[in-house]
Amino acid sequence: MSVEISSPSGWPRLELGEVRRHFVIIGILALRDMKVRYKQSLVGFGWAFLQPLFTMLVFSAIFAGIVKVPTGDTPYPLFVMAALVPWSYFVHAINTTTSCLVANQTLITRVYFPRLVFPLSTVFSALVDFLIAFALLLIVLAWYGEVPTARIAFLPIFIVFAIIAAIALGLWLSALNVQYRDVFHALPFFTQVLMFISPVVYPAHVIPEKWQWLYDLNPMATVINGFRWVFVEGQPAPGLYSLWSVVVVTAVLTGGLYFFRWQEDRFADVV
């Protein structure tokens, strides 16, 4: 086993095989983050349950009780919960991933392993919260007497898509955040806006026909529509335009990988 060291030149090499060799570290970092996350807190991982629960209740009170968003036959809490599960995963993953390099600066400046390991570990450790919120969704389903149909077989597709979308965006944000900490500050605003251009609190069909194509470019629209289609009776499957969101994610992911690798050489010097 020999290591070649040289100055950066030309197109950055992706070297994903190297990342695969350091796969174990991804798990170790994710485990570390999980162990540490709720230390010295009373409720611990219960927060991953309480947060979506309270959000669902507040949203139901406002968007069903006051604003009266049209969700057809579906009870609003179920309607919004099906969206909150993947949505809160995505937001949580993006939030932790954006700051993951800066948060691990001591590691980055003292040990070598491919820095791609960091955004990957945050995206995966966010899955724990996802599972807990998912349990809440199942409880809500049971509450309304809805039984998941065979469509649940399609659920993994949407979950994987959400994970890949989080990685794709996370690569850009985490790399940019190393040099421009504004990214971290702008993030809450950005996710707030993103929530309103995704069908979290309202059904996608309220968007006028002529803008559907643009709206469906949003990968989270595809994911949320997918979740609703799987779990809620009478919700349509994601439309054909949703396929374009796959193209968007692929482009963002590929660009993100190269961008990240290009900037990676400078992380230890700049972070």
């Binding site: 020999s2 070649e4 060291i5 100055s7 570390r32 040099q179 700049v270």
Partner: protein
């Protein structure tokens, strides 16, 4: 010393840093890239009009760039222990960071034929909220040990660090000495072919330091190739087969440790 291919080959390694102001490296960072893209057409015309100068960097950029090390070349044979001495700021740590792939050189190449472990600071990977035992596992894994290796060495690591009673308390409650002892203990039990060590012996009291040196000698005796950066000149003379003196970013002397240490001490400040 064996006459086979060298374990470590360093060829004309150089590293340039951005000093002061916006932290960019090599001015090829994004900020500068955008700036250059916008300026490019104008700069090209201006350059043709002006008489050509060697460097293509505008003067105000060049003022910020400093060479930390330049034209550093040497080889290390298998099983050799090379000491690296020099004043603070001479470039020793930069060299080690490049060889451990933490940062990339601006020019030059290097090759390391074997697994590499770097000790830039004791306690790498430690997290204050985790217990001593958990941190041993975490740090060991981050520094490249496999799960089996860690479990296998767990007893030794704990014994060497002498923190038995506090093993299951979060290390944020440890004294700084305890953290350092634990950190060094984990690092000392790494099992890589090549070890790059940067001044991690300056920890603990005399008793611990003596045990550290003994441990280092057994590591050395096991045939590993070691690059040892240190200000502890006695340790360098004791442990190293050979040494190099780094001054102003370059190698001033390469030879027996006694000679190199003398040159380092004798050289003008």
């Amino acid at each position: 010393m064996s006459s086979e291919t060298p374990m470590i080959e360093v060829e004309n390694i150089g590293k340039r840093y951005w000093v002061g102001g916006y932290p960019m490296i090599d001015y090829r960072g994004m900020h500068a890239l955008l700036e250059r893209a916008v300026r490019a057409p104008f700069a090209a015309v201006a350059r043709r009009v002006r008489s050509g100068r060697g460097s293509s960097e505008p003067a105000h950029i060049r003022a910020h760039l400093r060479w930390a090390i330049r034209n550093v070349s040497f080889t290390v044979a298998q099983g050799e222990v090379l000491g690296i001495v020099g004043q603070n700021g001479a470039g020793k740590s930069v060299l080690l960071k490049i060889l451990s792939r933490i940062t990339r050189p601006t020019e030059g190449r290097a090759r390391l034929r074997g697994s590499v472990s770097t000790l830039l600071e004791a306690g790498t990977g430690f997290h204050p909220e985790l217990t001593g035992r958990e941190n041993i596992r975490l740090s060991g894994a981050i520094l490249g040990m496999s799960k089996q290796q860690i479990e296998h060495r767990m007893e030794e690591i704990i014994a060497f660090a002498e923190i038995d009673e506090f093993l299951d308390t979060p290390i944020k409650h440890y004294s700084s000495g305890m953290v350092l002892r634990l950190g060094f203990s984990v690092s000392a039990h790494l099992e890589a072919d090549i070890m790059l060590i940067d001044e991690v012996l300056t920890v603990g009291d005399e008793n611990f330091q003596r045990r550290c040196i003994d441990k280092m000698r057994s590591v050395v005796g096991s045939g590993r190739t070691v690059l040892f950066v240190s200000h502890d000149l006695d340790a360098v003379k004791l442990i190293c087969h050979r040494a190099i003196l780094i001054r102003n970013g370059g190698i001033e002397l390469d030879g027996p440790p006694d000679q190199v240490v003398a040159a380092h001490l004798g050289g003008g400040r």
